[in-house]
Symmetry: C2
Subunit: 274 residues, 2 copies
């Protein structure tokens, strides 16, 4: 499995990916899932991929040379596209090319054509944009209301993203949030694993050197891992336990008058079901 | 969808279920998923069910009268079983009976025979036990190492259970933990909904009146809902942001010497890919 998250904020973009690939629990390996496409001063793009590794590796390879027709003008590539929308169309086209090549044989083998990608960045003259590309090559774009995308094993790590992220979240805080989200996912799903790739892009920079590969010795991620679980338990303990008798609680679980208005039970009288 | 959790502690058992059933997002209804089987002083059992509602309703109905052969002795029912293991075998048999009745027609209609149940309680003379029953009627039992089971939409709410619950957790704290877990699930999945049924059973009691139906007006659940998200954000804010330059941080994201040892980028020089 895989867990990747991409976040678009007013201040910039954050990308985080794990690196575990497995074909069954007894065939685990490490593959990086983040690709960076950079032409400093002109464009900066990042792709995170999930799904069948043979598909996503082929998509990556083809993406570097994929062209889509552009009327009488020069075909569009990710290196000359004038907008992130067009660059993402090129990525969708690369996905469809792999589908043409491998789809029928995969189908004959009973294997789904399964891949999904987060693709985001900035091209000079345009604002930053972030897309989620599906295995049919179609895609959606993040908005102010939905400022992050996840691919792969997304559920364990979603609650903290839902509760923390807004477009005004500072970049470093969003990076911290992505790492907490990853930590919860690592704890609950063995098929998501270290090392992680974390990249932070500042709006307008058109390049980034804030890229780091995080392994189990990374002091910051170790701190997150040790601190978060412990603080979560402290917060949890700080919330009142339920009081069944209502008592003097400001937040009774049951008001006294409701005490016995509960679910009907199934019982027996003299071994006859009532 | 559904979210149910059952917990076995040294002090007793905790059961929590939602009540939303949906056939598509435009066909939502409310069905209780908790059933209580009680013969005070003799036995106390609770079933939580997830999956296809027509299957789980049939299983419930049949469970009350299901019998399994017992050599020359009286057939075993949930009302005379001498152990929770045997009572759970009766439940497995009820599932298989529904499969015999409905399985072929469901298969012809392209519908999976999909149901799963948490079943736990205590029979006089035996300790409390908790089981997870699958749609083939087979089952597993909780242990000290794995003291809870979830059915339905389990992932959003699992991290807090993983971090808090151990066999020595007090009953009311476990009930609080289950409610926090449910709150995270409600926030992330529209197909899990109020009201909730919460039941707490104290070891050895062989009956329980700590059962409550929780709706959106319940003061305790409202407090959990309002407090948990806010405190989570406070804890999150209390953890240091990553420092890219290392700086004077005790937990640098990058040691200064490692600064540029990062993921290779794909770039272009004079529009040639390098």
């Amino acid at each position: 499995m895989t867990y990747c998250v991409g976040i678009r904020l007013n201040a910039g973009l954050v990308f985080l990916s794990d690196s575990r690939t497995n074909a069954g629990l007894d065939a685990i390996s490490t593959f990086r899932k983040m690709m960076v496409y950079e032409k400093p001063g002109d464009r900066f793009m990042v792709m995170l991929s999930a799904g069948n590794l043979s598909i996503s590796q082929s998509v990556r390879e083809i993406l570097q040379v994929e062209k889509i027709p552009n009327g009488d003008d020069e075909p569009i590539t990710i290196w000359n596209a004038k907008s992130m929308f067009d660059a993402t169309r090129v990525l969708g086209s690369a996905v469809r090319r792999v589908y043409e090549q491998d789809g029928p044989s995969l189908k004959a083998a009973g294997i789904d054509f399964n891949c999904s990608m987060i693709f985001g960045g900035q091209i000079a003259g345009e604002a930053m944009r972030l897309f989620l590309v599906y295995s049919a090559g179609n895609f959606i774009e993040s908005t102010r209301e939905t400022c992050f995308f996840q691919v792969g094993e997304s559920k364990y790590g979603k609650p903290i993203l839902d509760r923390v992220l807004t477009p005004t979240t500072p970049l470093d805080e969003a990076a911290k949030c992505a790492l907490v989200s990853m930590d919860s996912t690592l704890k609950s799903n063995l098929s998501v694993g270290l090392p992680l790739d974390l990249l932070v892009y500042r709006a307008g920079a058109l390049e980034s050197d804030q890229i780091v590969c995080i392994d189990d010795k990374n002091p910051y991620f170790k701190m997150i891992h040790d601190t978060w679980g412990q603080r979560l338990r402290e917060v949890f303990e700080g919330i009142d336990d339920p009081r069944w008798d209502g008592g003097d609680s400001a937040h009774p679980l049951l008001a006294r008058s409701e005490r016995y208005e509960t679910l009907p039970k199934i019982g027996t009288v003299d071994d006859k079901i009532v």
